[in-house]
């Protein structure tokens, strides 16, 4: 069975944690840290499997994908096939990519943002406005070997980059929605450590249906209490 699913940023911040075997909450941070240490020590273009007996117990392995600034990590035991798990990571990433265009790449852009803001300062490009920044990022995105997103994602990135306002106000990076939605997607894929759906289309359909249902039932919160929600209307 699958023991855990993690999404960790390259700055060691967890973006999604889900354990299918009970792990005491106080241990979560250590697990994330040790997994990140393993991952960050691995160079590019090596195999995607790591034996993690020391972290998750005997016989466990980990498969990961490094995309842009995120590590997608699945931990599993001897009841799963390594290459099948690698496919599953791909399914997960693709589904994220399809469902939440404006969320998921914003998370990445947010991280990009910081490094690029730094570069802007260095090159005294402040005056040139956000457009330059966007171009920088686009350029970087194309040239970087790390970014191996699907074509869908690339188009999403492009469309997003053109919307420079979103980019600049993307400080929020909308991780909360990200978190809830990521959990929804994950739950459509895996239940109790078992894979229940492996088709990205099916998962998308379910997620959309849930979103529709939620909208139907949301009658009460016509007046949002949150300031930001009110002002954003």
């Amino acid at each position: 069975m699958i023991q855990a699913v993690m999404v960790i940023s390259t700055q060691a911040k967890p973006r999604l944690l889900k354990f299918y075997n009970f792990q005491p909450p106080e241990k979560h941070q250590d697990l994330v840290r040790s997994v990140f240490q393993l991952l960050s020590a691995r160079p590019d273009s090596v195999s995607n499997f790591v034996e993690v007996d020391s972290i998750f117990g005997p016989g466990t392995k980990m498969v990961y994908k490094h995309l842009a600034t995120l590590y997608f990590v699945f931990v599993f035991d001897s009841s799963e096939n390594e290459l099948a798990m690698l496919d599953l990571v791909q399914v997960f990433v693709e589904t994220l990519d399809r469902c939440f265009k404006n969320v998921c790449e914003l998370d990445i852009v947010f991280n990009f943002n910081k490094s690029h803001a730094m570069r802007l300062d260095d090159n005294s490009l402040e005056g040139e406005g956000p457009r330059t920044l966007v171009n920088h990022i686009k350029q970087d995105c194309r040239s970087s070997s790390r970014v191996t997103w699907s074509p869908t994602f690339r188009s999403c990135v492009s469309s997003c980059y053109d919307d420079s306002d979103v980019l600049l106000t993307s400080h929020s990076c909308l991780a909360p929605i990200n978190l809830m939605q990521m959990h929804t997607i994950l739950d459509e894929m895996i239940l109790g450590g078992q894979v229940i759906e492996t088709s990205s289309e099916e998962i998308m359909k379910s997620v959309e249906e849930i979103a529709r249902l939620e909208k139907q039932s949301s009658t009460t919160s016509l007046i949002p209490k949150s300031i930001s929600e009110r002002f954003s209307r």
């Binding site: 069975m1 034996e51 099948a84 978190l179 239940l191 109790g192 229940i196 949150s226």
Partner: protein, 1033 residues
């Protein structure tokens, strides 16, 4: 809104805060506004205090927003959220008709439930029941199923929840919902006894479902349920359905799971393997999916090893994987597959040798490790030299972690089962040194251990070992590398112990005393200094021999080996034993070692004292010789003394089975002390722990006794009687014709090693041909191997710092100007006295001690076993008590045996000294004790009156307390055993000792007080006035 009750570092909530609630977006913005750790933790603390206030709101919207924030904080920011505040509102919101709230509540519950909050779960049972009902929307049921399968709810602690809800799963299972199938599997795994009757059949029915999603999920469920800790046998009846799936399913996911289940079932039922082999081979040839192909390979290699055609096909596929240059994943899996091959297909692995060797240089650490693993599997006695050299060469080029992985693997492979693969030990010795010199080597402990171990077990390799050790010792650069200290320690020990193979002792002494040795830790310095002692003793004895050659006849009868050494030494280079070179060495020793006499480290200090004392004596004789006015008497006395010292070091050390002592049952009549029963738990615990030491016993000593001891037959025959009764076969007996006296060895070695032990002129034993080794081009030298030698424990043994405690008594005697009798001489001395001839050997002396009934000592010559134990200072004092009780021979206690032996002997010989004034008794003088004045008149160097009685008292006290006479590990004021033992109040030790040992110490104190009041006890032995001391009789 009510005021926050939590102690948060924030001001009272402002009006805006209470009127408007921050959403999760706002929270994340606030968290990211200040990315520093302090800013983030402040924001988290503030948010938590807010949430605590908001979460009690009656309004569901506020509550859910707060719950959302709390979930986010606890799962991604590891905020220390107690389980209750999260679990309770979550369960409250489960009933919300509003879907977003319900979903959030289910998510929060599945993330936050853990054992402490499971008591809340019954509150949710009703809601779960409702949501699982067929009338509920399928997305709602899905939420409930997720909670049911969440880690906490599916844990054994919450077994009633799944049991209550098992029936609710049935309609979902009938529909073939993959979620329900997966949840049912979790429920069955959590509480098999309750859930199997309800759920197993419906689940099995899903396997035959026409819906591929249902059958795939069912296959996955059964794969999970049959996973290794569980027994796969109950799933055998499912084989027809699974077989059906295997032949008809198009889903790779389903096929993978079915193959995994069959891999577990096939070993249980032989007919099954024959049935599935064809479909599997078809899949293997047909499938384009790599995942399925790999699963087929794994299945064939692990479960169908008997089907040759299938295995060949699988190997061919695995080689395709290996050939995938552009995909490291496939290469890794290919290596993994080869690693599953049994020894029957070793030749196949050998075919891929080039690919595997190439993989050693791969950028991927997984691939490199798998390659090392495979190469280690290929290793045998024919290729070990090539492979090991190749691997060590690779280690030199690799990063530190991998280099040490390789070195560790090579050491383990070569050392396996007492070096069974190594035929050429000269090569192995140089390989060990090469390994030690590898750039990132951190395996010093193991290399050092193997150097010493090989030296002790293989006589033939010693010259080469000494050569290799020399190259290590003379290199000053190595002294700065702390990973190499154990290796240097081993090298120093080898150079000292096998000094007769050294080509240039002067250079060796210079290397051992070079200025950079100050960088060494004290324990290693002690070994260095002791090695110098051995070298100088050797040089001087050779020098004296030569002097004796010219002046008068050599005492051939004394020691044959000395003659031989002389012969060997004279063939090398005579210069090294000239007057000048010895003077040079002595001067060097005095200038470099002299300052260390003040050293705080007891080991170093003791050895420096020994060495300096010897050097002073030697200097005397040098001066005498120079003036050519050697008074015959003095010269012969000193000569005898040097010879004695040499004899002491000539005793060859050999390995003794770690288990030897455990085979000894305590003699029937021996009641050690029933009061120590309370230590039983500690004893048993310690007994099961692997021993971390190697034992030595002086082998030659035994042979000397054998030849020179006809008169001790009374003692020996009674000893053999004793052995016959108790099965004490681990001891060297006095009889050469009794092959069993050696530690029982597994192959033919014991008798031959026994011969070797008995014939100390036979330095180069004929190589022993073991049948299976006859292939080796170079005949394999004899390797001493002991029966039942647990390789793992010997691997862990640390053997780099030998302690010569067996000698300490004798050394002190020598240094105090009393020529200590060598075992043989002593024997003849006492024999000639005719009164106490039983004291001639150690064994018989212990017998006589027993006969005298003075103390229940560890019977027999087990105490002759010497060990050298690295961690002897760390052993708790309890071990000594245990040793007295259990006759164990492990760690420090073995060494204790040795000490006790000496002390018993001193007591006995002390008696003989009374009876025969004028003989040279072996007097044990407690080190540094201020009571030493009672034993020896320090000014004259003569024995103080009744010093032997005093000495016997110390021995008794040591036996009782299990402590050394001087122990700096004890708290201040208790270093001196005699002082401490005689002190009226010792109660404060209770607080100083850990709880477990209190009773032991209390008991000891009680015994001690009793003994002090007892007129025959050791207290009496320490009276100031010699006449007040009791007589020993």
């Amino acid at each position: 809104m009510m005021a926050s009750a939590t102690p948060a570092p924030t001001a009272a909530p402002s009006l805006v805060d209470t009127l408007f609630q921050r959403s999760l977006d706002d929270l994340v913005k606030a968290l990211r506004a200040d990315p520093s750790a302090a800013g983030e933790s402040a924001a988290v603390a503030r948010a938590l205090s807010e949430i605590h206030r908001e979460i009690r709101a009656p309004d569901a919207a506020t509550k859910s927003a707060a719950l959302q924030k709390l979930t986010y904080l606890s799962s991604l920011h590891f905020a220390p959220v107690a389980s209750h505040p999260l679990a309770f509102p979550a369960i409250e919101l489960l009933a919300s008709p509003h879907l977003p709230h319900k979903r959030l509540a289910y998510l929060a519950a599945s993330l936050s439930l853990h054992p402490p909050s499971l008591s809340l779960l019954p509150l949710a049972t009703h809601q779960l029941h409702k949501d699982l009902s067929p009338s509920a929307h399928r997305h709602v049921s899905a939420l409930a199923l997720h909670l049911l399968a969440s880690p906490a709810a599916a844990s054994a602690d919450a077994a009633d929840l799944p049991v209550h809800l098992a029936h609710d799963l049935l309609p979902h299972l009938a529909r073939g919902s993959p979620r329900a199938i997966a949840a049912a599997a979790r429920v069955i795994a959590a509480s098999p006894s309750a859930a199997v009757p309800v759920l197993f059949k419906p689940l099995a029915a899903c396997l035959a479902s026409p819906d591929p999603r249902a059958s795939t999920a069912a296959a996955a469920a059964f794969c999970d349920l049959s996973a290794p800790p569980a027994d796969a046998a109950p799933f055998l009846p499912l084989a027809p359905d699974l077989y059906n799936l295997l032949t008809t399913s198009r889903s790779n996911w389903a096929l993978i799971k079915v193959l995994k289940v069959f891999a577990r079932l096939a070993p249980l039922e032989s007919r099954l393997a024959a049935r599935i082999v064809d479909p599997v081979c078809q899949l293997l040839t047909r499938s384009a999916a790599m995942s399925l192909t790999f699963e087929c390979i794994r299945m064939v290699l692990t479960a169908l090893p008997a089907h040759d055609a299938a295995v060949r096909l699988a190997i061919a596929k695995a080689k395709e994987f290996l050939g995938a240059d552009d995909d490291p994943n496939l290469r890794y899996l290919g290596l993994l597959a080869l690693g599953m091959l049994g020894p029957a297909y070793a030749s196949t692995v050998n075919d891929c040798r080039d690919v595997i060797a190439q993989s050693l240089g791969d950028a991927d650490s997984n691939i490199r490790r798998e390659a090392v693993h495979l190469i280690m599997g290929m290793i045998d006695e024919n290729n070990i030299m090539d492979v090991a050299v190749m691997l060590v060469g690779h280690a030199a080029k690799s990063d530190p972690e991998f280099a040490n992985h390789i070195l560790g693997a090579v050491l383990a492979a070569c050392g396996r089962n007492v070096y069974e693969l190594v035929a050429d030990f000269d090569w192995y010795a140089s390989l060990l040194v090469d390994m030690a010199r590898t750039l990132h080597c951190a395996q010093g402990d193991e290399i050092g251990r193997q150097l010493v171990d090989v030296g002790m077990r293989v006589q033939d390799v010693r010259p080469e070992l000494v050569r290799s050790a020399r190259t290590l010792l003379i290199d000053p650069a190595l002294l700065g590398n702390h990973f190499l200290f154990p290796v240097l320690s081993a090298a120093a020990w080898i150079s000292g112990e096998y000094v007769d193979f050294t080509k240039d002792p002067v250079e060796l002494v210079e290397a051992l005393l070079q200025p950079r040795t100050s960088l060494l830790p004290m324990s290693v310095r002690a070994v260095y200094i002791h090695a110098v002692f051995k070298v100088i003793t050797f040089c001087f004895s050779v020098y004296l021999e030569r002097l004796g050659d010219s002046s008068k006849a050599v005492d051939v009868a004394f020691d044959g080996s000395a003659e031989e050494q002389d012969a060997r030494a004279s063939t090398v280079r005579k210069d090294h034993f000239s007057h000048e070179s010895i003077l040079h060495m002595i001067n060097l020793i005095q200038t470099t070692i002299g300052p260390l006499i003040e050293c705080n480290e007891i080991e170093v200090q003791e050895r420096v004292h020994n060495l300096m004392g010897f050097v002073h004596l030697v200097r005397d004789i040098q001066e005498l010789n120079e003036r050519k006015a050697a008074a015959d008497e003095t010269q012969s006395r000193v000569k005898e003394l040097v010879k004695t010292m040499r004899t002491v070091f000539c005793q060859e050390l050999g390995p003794v089975s770690v288990n030897a002592q455990t085979k000894v049952a305590p003699p029937d009549g021996l009641i050690l002390n029933e009061n120590l029963v309370e230590l039983a738990d500690i004893v048993s615990e310690d007994d099961t722990a692997p021993s971390t030491s190697i034992f030595f016993y002086p082998r030659k000593c035994h042979s000397v006794e054998t030849r020179d001891e006809p008169a001790a037959s009374v003692g020996l025959s009674s000893l053999s009687e004793h052995r016959k009764r108790h099965g004490l076969f681990y001891l060297p007996t006095g009889k050469t014709d009794e092959p069993n006296d050696y530690p029982q060895a597994s192959d033919t070695l014991p008798s031959s090693s026994n011969e070797a032990a008995n014939d100390d002129k036979l330095k180069n034993v004929e190589p022993l041909f073991a049948g299976k080794k006859s292939k080796a081009t170079k005949s394999r030298p004899k390797v001493v191997k002991l029966d039942g030698e647990d390789f793992l424990s010997s691997m862990m043994a640390s053997a780099n710092a030998p302690r010569e405690d067996r000698l300490s008594g004798a050394l002190r005697g020598v240094l105090l100007g009393r020529a200590e009798a060598s075992p043989s001489q002593k024997a003849s001395d006492t024999n000639s006295e005719g009164m106490l001839n039983k004291t001639g050997t150690d064994e018989s002396s212990s017998q006589s001690v027993e006969n005298l009934g003075s103390h229940p000592t560890p019977s027999s010559g087990a105490s002759k076993q010497q060990n050298h134990d690295k961690g002897k200072g760390k052993n708790p004092p309890e071990s000594d008590g245990k040793e007295l009780r259990k006759h164990r021979s492990s760690g420090r206690s073995g060494q204790r045996h040795g000490k006790h032996k000496h002390r018993e002997k001193s007591g006995i010989i002390g008696v003989s000294a009374i009876a025969n004034p004028g003989c040279h008794p072996d007097i044990y003088v407690p080190m540094c004790s201020k009571y030493a004045v009672k034993f020896v008149d320090l000014l004259s160097g003569h024995l103080a009156p009744k010093g032997d009685v005093c000495s016997f008292g110390v021995v008794v006290l040591e036996l009782i307390t299990g402590r050394r006479s001087m122990d700096k590990n004890q708290p201040a004021g208790k270093h001196d055993l005699v002082e401490w033992g005689l002190a009226p109040s010792v109660t404060e030790t209770r607080t100083a000792q850990p709880d477990g040992s209190q009773t032991w110490w209390e008991h000891l104190h009680e015994r001690q007080r009793r003994l002090q009041s007892d007129p025959a006890g050791p207290g009496e032995c320490f009276a100031e006035d010699p006449k007040a001391r009791s007589l020993i009789c």
